[in-house]
């Protein structure tokens, strides 16, 4: 049913594409005025285009024109390296006038990147990227002179993942700067960058990045194939690609990782993974993604291994409890009261006196309200954040209990669930889905339902693969070396090998020879 829906949408998109007028194939001609008219036609109704024509003092037949887009070019380069030399140089001397364009390129224009081009499509896209087009009267070719100006955000610590110990830089929206940040981490010629352009309208630059002698070849091929099959018109963030190349499309579980940190991406590349940079997005995708990666933080590797292992265990416990606590509470309180210690039973019973709604309903509602608060706090502009705190703590917590709308244990359970799910912000989505599912089955079947639901979730997790690698790999292992970096983080001198499968091309991370 859903498939049909999606197919229909796709079809509609195609129809729209057909309606847009594609400019007819045009060619550069020898007349400068005709060429200028051509570009005026291509960029009509675009007032950011700037066309500036000028003439050399000495050589009167050298009529020139430059075309660029305002704001996309570095005006200093245009003024001092293009216009000034062409205007001032005595072109009548020392220049073979039969191939003036070539001579200008070789002897006059001061730029590191100049190409002669005649293909109108390429020229157009270069102008759009911020290059300057140089036209010369009498030639059906043109010079493209690199003059791009990149205005980028400063490199700051990413808001989504802060650390106490570790590098504080995060990716920004510029692809080139992101690649440089990675290159500065891994200084080897084996680090490969493969570019491609995706999105029929946005023409977004995408870069597949890997270390040649470590990468899983199968994963690389599979990634390229999946990217080839994407035919979307726009890619505004890596999230588009993340969802389009996902392994389990209908599952809430992500099988493609995303990180904002160069050190994280570098570490993943060094284990044999493939990274995918998308221009305009600070989030870099990595494949394959293992389930356990959600519970790992880059800081684990920078601090003492005992402390790191402790933190990982906490993350695991909170992840599981955030999924299971509401349903366990519900089944204990409404199905299996015999399992509660008597004093607890009495105190829970006392808190339930006079509360009108059933426990299951109030749990659902309170968890829903918590998610409303969370979402509101995320979207809310900073200065009014305080209001959320007041509403959350006073109105929904204290007042609700005092007014006997919900019982106090339900509030406590909601709070614990909320805090534990916020500890794992990276996969809060799947947590909410699984938690609601378990709560639903539990409210009908008690522990019986809880365990069946849990089995279903575990089976699902076990069946997922991320680019051919089992999603739950190294979760069940304790003995082999994959277990060294799963639930706990072994000391660095122990982790001499890369993870199995992912790093199988070259397993040795630390040479054990002396």
């Amino acid at each position: 049913m859903f498939k049909n829906l999606f197919k229909k949408n796709k079809h509609d998109n195609n129809n729209e594409n057909d309606n847009i007028a594609i400019p007819k194939k045009q060619k550069l001609v020898k007349s400068l005025n005709d060429n200028i008219a051509l570009f005026k036609y291509i960029f009509k109704d675009d007032e950011t285009i700037i066309i500036r024509d000028f003439q050399n003092k000495q050589l009167k037949e050298a009529n020139c024109c430059i075309i660029y887009i305002d704001g996309m070019v570095n005006t200093e380069i245009v003024n001092e390296n293009i216009i000034q030399p062409v205007l001032r140089t005595d072109l009548s001397v020392d220049i073979e006038s039969d191939n003036l364009l070539e001579e200008l390129k070789r002897k006059v224009i001061v730029s590191n990147d100049v190409t002669i081009e005649s293909d109108i499509d390429k020229i157009t896209s270069s102008i759009i990227y911020g290059d300057t087009l140089f036209l010369l009267d009498g030639y059906d070719k043109a010079l493209i002179i690199s003059s791009k100006l990149w205005l980028t955000r400063a490199i700051t610590e990413p808001e989504s993942s802060k650390v106490i110990r570790g590098p504080r830089e995060g990716f920004n929206e510029s692809l080139i700067i992101n690649l440089t940040m990675l290159r500065r981490k891994i200084k080897t010629a084996d680090l490969k960058f493969k570019f491609r352009v995706m999105g029929e309208r946005t023409l977004t630059k995408v870069c597949i990045c890997y270390i040649d002698d470590l990468v899983m070849d199968g994963v690389l091929e599979e990634l390229e194939q999946r990217l080839d099959s994407i035919k979307i018109d726009a890619i505004l963030d890596s999230g588009y690609i993340q969802e389009l190349i996902k392994d389990a499309p209908y599952s809430p579980i992500e099988t493609v990782g995303a990180s904002e940190r160069p050190d994280v991406v570098a570490a993943k590349l060094l284990e044999g993974r493939v990274a995918l940079f998308v221009d305009g997005s600070p989030f870099v995708l990595t494949v394959p993604l293992l389930g356990i990666e959600n519970l790992q933080s880059n800081e684990d590797y920078y601090t003492n291994y005992i402390y790191s292992s402790f933190n990982r265990i906490i993350r695991t416990i909170t992840a599981v409890s955030s999924v299971a606590i509401p349903s366990l509470f519900l089944s204990l309180v409404t199905f299996h009261q015999e399992m509660l210690p008597t004093p607890l039973l009495v105190s829970v019973s006392a808190s339930r006196q006079g509360v009108p709604f059933p426990t299951s309903l109030s749990l659902f509602v309170m968890l829903f309200v918590f998610d409303i608060l969370r979402e509101a706090a995320t979207r809310m502009p900073g200065p009014i954040g305080m209001a959320i705190n007041i509403v959350g703590t006073l109105v929904l917590g204290q007042a609700a209990v005092e007014a006997r709308l919900v019982s106090a244990p339900v509030i406590i359970i909601t709070a614990i669930t909320g805090i534990t799910s916020l500890m794992n912000v990276g996969f809060i989505g799947p947590i909410i889905v699984v938690r609601s599912f378990l709560l639903l089955v539990t409210s009908f079947y008690g522990f019986y339902g809880f365990f069946f639901g849990f089995i279903i979730v575990v089976l699902h997790l076990m069946s997922i693969k991320s680019f051919g690698v089992p999603y739950m790999m190294s979760v069940t292992t304790v003995r082999d070396h994959n277990g060294q970096d799963a639930w706990i983080r072994a000391p660095w001198w122990v982790m001499t090998l890369r993870p199995k499968m992912i790093g199988s091309k070259n397993l040795t991370r630390q040479s054990t020879e002396k």
Partner: protein, 384 residues
């Protein structure tokens, strides 16, 4: 077609999940009456009179729990229990029952009707403490004066739990009792409870043992005798042994605190003759000396040890004799020991074990070891 199939399946699952919720016992905690203790008496009109103690909870930030005792009658216990709904309004919830008190009168006839329902029902639990009321009415105990807790049954269950520091009543719950009831060559015992009048209020006291023969109570022994019984059954975990020491013209009482005790019961089978040999080994420490006789030395220890051994030996023998001749019920489990030792012999004598038990020759050997004298290494000296 596949879509139809799947949506039909989903619909089925949804519908059934809504339909079977009733069977899955979704019950709100505040909608049930939590029973903490039960007393069973013989009814006036019907067969059974059931008295239950319900925990009454008043909600709010400073919640108070208070007991409420209600009485119903019925043809069977289950009948009486369900009749309670017409009084309480809520369904009684039996999983947290701490004590089950059986009246003297019922215990004399038979206890099977009570035990069967309690073991069979799905809500009731096996770890309930069983008590026999020595007074006329078991229900009175639940309305007695509560000293330390808010709920009588909780206090009773604490009393039973802490009996291990006293050893004057046996520990018994439904599992232990039923094992003894069904076991070969052993008769069950249950602790007894009675109301004692102390300063105008009736306070329940757990002390002593009810001796069963099959499913009927045949007699009672008091607290001190119970301790000796427990020595034989190897169930002493603590308690006090008081020894009187005489030296020259002075006499003193020494209290020994029992830390550890182990009893070995071994049948000696010699053809048709069966003898029981009981070896008690107890570790104690002196915790009290009531005069200034100096016994805190090697010699004194040995003296006290010998006296204690003799006393223990005498007392245990007396209790065994009393049970053998007066009640004729093998509560010590001598028969089962024979069965363990030699099943073939047991098969032959099983039928007339009652007679054999009556005339069984038992030799008791006791060893008391004094570890230390607690925090004082001397006696208090009085200056003259």
């Amino acid at each position: 077609m596949r879509v139809v199939k799947i949506s039909f399946l989903v619909l089925m699952i949804l519908v059934t999940s809504f339909l079977v919720t009733g069977c899955w016992n979704y019950k709100e905690i505040d909608k049930m009456a939590i029973v903490s203790g039960v007393a069973v008496d013989k009814g006036k009109k019907e067969k059974i009179r059931l008295t239950v103690e319900i925990i009454q909870v008043s909600g709010g930030s400073n919640s108070v729990t208070s007991p409420k005792v209600i009485t119903t009658e019925g043809k069977t216990i289950f009948d009486a229990a369900r009749n309670a709904i017409s009084i309480v309004g809520k369904k009684l919830y039996w999983s947290h029952v701490k004590v089950l008190i059986i009246s003297k009168e019922l215990a004399k006839k038979d206890v099977i009707p009570i035990m069967d329902w309690y073991k069979r029902d799905s809500e009731t639990r096996f770890d309930v403490n069983l008590l026999i009321s020595k007074g006329d009415c078991a229900a009175e105990i639940l309305t007695g004066k509560i000293l330390t807790d808010q709920i009588m049954s909780f206090e009773l269950s604490n009393m039973i739990k802490n009996q291990k520091n006293l050893s004057k009543a046996p520990q018994s719950n439904m599992v232990v009792y039923c094992n003894q009831l069904e076991g070969e060559g052993i008769q069950p015992v249950l602790p007894t409870i009675e109301l004692k009048k102390i300063a105008n209020s009736k306070i329940p006291t757990i002390m002593g043992t009810g001796i069963f023969k099959a499913d009927k109570v045949v007699g009672y022994i008091d607290g001190d005798e119970t301790m000796n019984l427990l020595f034989v059954k190897d169930e002493v975990k603590g308690g006090v042994l008081v020894v009187d020491v005489k030296e020259k013209d002075k006499s003193t009482s020494v209290s020994l605190e029992i830390f550890k005790s182990k009893t070995e019961v071994k049948p000696i089978i010699d053809g048709k003759n069966i003898k029981m040999s009981i070896k008690i080994e107890t570790e104690t420490a002196i915790d009290e000396v009531t005069s200034d006789i100096n016994i805190i030395n090697q010699k004194g220890f040995e003296k006290v040890e010998n006296l204690a051994e003799e006393k223990l030996k005498k007392q245990v023998t007396e209790v065994i004799k009393k049970v053998q001749h007066k009640y004729k019920a093998d509560v010590f489990g001598f028969g089962s020991k024979v069965n363990q030792e030699d099943p073939k012999v047991w098969k032959k004598i099983e039928k007339d074990w009652d007679k054999k038990f009556e005339n069984l020759e038992v030799s008791v050997d006791a060893k008391v070891h004094i570890r230390n004298s607690a925090e004082l290494s001397r006696t208090l000296k009085v200056w003259k």
